[in-house]
């Protein structure tokens, strides 16, 4: 009856051993090697940041431990850089968020016009930031720029745009908003359009006031999108370089001296490798924290969407 009885040798055959599957390691090995390859320069930069290293003084190169960091944090100019970077990051992301959300709400309904507008609004995003600052530099030039001309015509004859410390931050944030608001807008628009309709219909039936609907239903449901968009923008805003460098090289004075510009100037102009690296390490620590947040958020979101599936 039972074949096991008639094939005793089958029983004595050893059962297969359990072993770790080497395949995933093999598959990711090449990428891993490249990853390590990229980590080597990273750790080299860490090492530089612990050295007194100016290329113009090759004989004076030596290990100073956290000397560069102490110098940085005990100098007012570096704290000024931290403040300027934070202000730039905070202000640009908040304004972009508000504007992006506003536009997304305006375009929420699916209509042909709204779709055309939303695609058209993406165009600034396709413009490289360097080009964007060039466009705006031309448009705000007091001699022939069309914006300068308009603002002048409105009576603000002394509006200095990027060349005055009073308006420089405003100007670069305006450009940043022009470049990056569409990014937030498109994310939030997608979010808004994917929200389930029932809560809104129910609220409508119950006659709930619009403001209540917005703050108690729309906004909370949109939060994952807002958080993702915000983290993404924070990560790139704290590292702003192209727009500011293109417009003012960090000036006038030190008014726009953000992290990356300070370290760029320290490296390429002052050949001060040690200090430039230390500045970058401080910036890296900030971005690392932000990207950790971002990845956690991303995983949570995927888990949620999977659990729901």
């Amino acid at each position: 009856m039972n074949d096991i009885a008639t094939h005793p040798e089958l029983i004595t055959a050893k059962p297969a051993r359990r072993r770790a599957n080497p395949l995933p390691y093999l598959l990711s090995l090449p990428a891993l090697i490249v990853c390590i390859g990229i980590l080597i320069p990273f750790f080299t930069a860490v090492w530089y940041s612990l050295e007194s290293y100016n290329m113009a003084f090759p004989t004076g190169r030596h290990f100073v431990g956290i000397g560069n960091y102490i110098d940085l944090f005990s100098s007012g100019t570096f704290w000024h850089t931290i403040v300027v970077s934070m202000v730039y990051m905070g202000a640009s992301v908040i304004f972009e968020l508000l504007l992006g959300l506003g536009i997304a709400l305006l375009l929420r309904e699916r209509s042909k016009l709204n779709n055309i507008i939303s695609v058209a609004l993406l165009m600034p995003l396709m413009v490289a930031p360097v080009i964007a600052s060039l466009i705006w530099k031309l448009m705000t030039n007091p001699n022939f720029g069309v914006y300068a001309w308009i603002v002048n015509g409105l009576g603000f004859t002394n509006f200095g745009w990027a060349s005055s410390p009073d308006t420089a931050m405003f100007t670069v944030i305006l450009i940043d908003m022009w470049v990056n608001t569409p990014f937030i807008m498109i994310l939030l628009l997608a979010g808004l359009r994917s929200l389930p309709t029932q809560p809104f219909e129910a609220a409508k039936l119950d006659g709930v006031p619009a403001r209540f609907v917005f703050f108690r239903i729309t906004l909370p449901m949109l939060m994952p999108y807002i958080i993702t968009a915000t983290l993404f923008r924070l990560l790139s805003a704290i590292q702003e370089f192209s727009i500011v460098y293109g417009m003012t090289q960090g000036g006038p004075g030190d008014s726009l001296m953000v992290f990356q510009i300070r370290s760029y100037i320290d490296f390429y102009q002052n050949t001060n490798v040690g200090r430039s690296s230390a500045i970058l390490m401080v910036l890296w620590a900030i971005t690392f924290g932000l990207s950790k947040l971002f990845v956690n958020q991303w995983h949570a979101m995927r888990e949620r969407s999977k659990a729901g599936a």
Partner: protein
């Protein structure tokens, strides 16, 4: 009624703010230098294609002299470079993305995060030591060296986007193929990769046009993942 016209005005302002600079740069591109520099700005002018001819032929005549701009050459060069580095990133990244999506294993998550966090980190951080040490490893001014650096941008992108697509595809489809009698490799090539093709295509487009990256990155993939979460969760 008032609300509607308010909405219209707001939309008009938004469109103006975002579209005007683009419109204006197109207008300026059709003007001669003297016209660009005139005030008040000229809206009516005989359009010239001079600036475009200059781009393509590489000769722009200015008061300081003839500018030889190797625009076309540079364009081709950077295209070639991005194309090559994307190919390399695909060869490296797609199998790794598959491994992360299909298997839970040590290193996988760490590596994915390390790459991502380095991508988000200031680019100078990696470029600075590389520019100083490249000569020592003999990679300066070589395509290999540049392609390697480009992996910093392209590899994380491919890893994270393609991984999402692999995760979304049911492993049963590959299992079915293997049960049919095909090897793992064949299943990977004929089933897994074609199924992740939209993701791979998106990642390729995004890495070739880095500025486009963030935009489409958000649209195609993040939004897709997120809207899944919102709809189903």
């Amino acid at each position: 009624m008032i609300l509607k016209s308010l909405r219209g005005v707001a939309l008009l302002l938004v469109v103006l703010f975002f579209m005007f600079p683009i419109f204006w740069i197109v207008v300026m591109s059709l003007q001669t230098n003297a016209e660009i520099l005139s005030l008040p700005p000229k809206l009516i002018f005989p359009p010239t294609l001079m600036n475009y001819t200059a781009l393509i032929t590489g000769h722009l005549k200015t008061s300081v002299g003839t500018l030889n701009i190797a625009f076309m050459h540079n364009l081709w060069n950077s295209f070639l470079l991005s194309a090559l580095s994307v190919i390399v990133a695909l060869v490296l990244g797609v199998p790794a993305a598959y491994a992360f999506a299909r298997y839970k294993f040590r290193l996988g998550e760490d590596m994915a995060f390390t790459l991502l966090s380095l991508k988000f980190a200031p680019p100078l951080l990696v470029l600075l030591p590389l520019s100083l040490e490249f000569q020592r490893v003999g990679l300066d001014n070589t395509y290999i060296g540049l392609i390697w650096i480009y992996q910093l941008i392209t590899l994380p992108l491919i890893l994270w986007i393609v991984r999402g697509y692999f995760e979304d595809a049911s492993p049963d489809i590959e299992y079915a193929y293997r049960v049919d009698g095909h090897s793992w490799l064949k299943g990977f090539l004929k089933i897994a990769i074609p199924l992740a093709r939209p993701g791979i295509a998106a990642a390729v487009v995004l890495s070739i046009i880095p500025t486009l990256a963030i935009a489409l990155y958000a649209q195609r993939w993040l939004v897709e993942g997120l809207s899944l979460g919102a709809v189903k969760g």
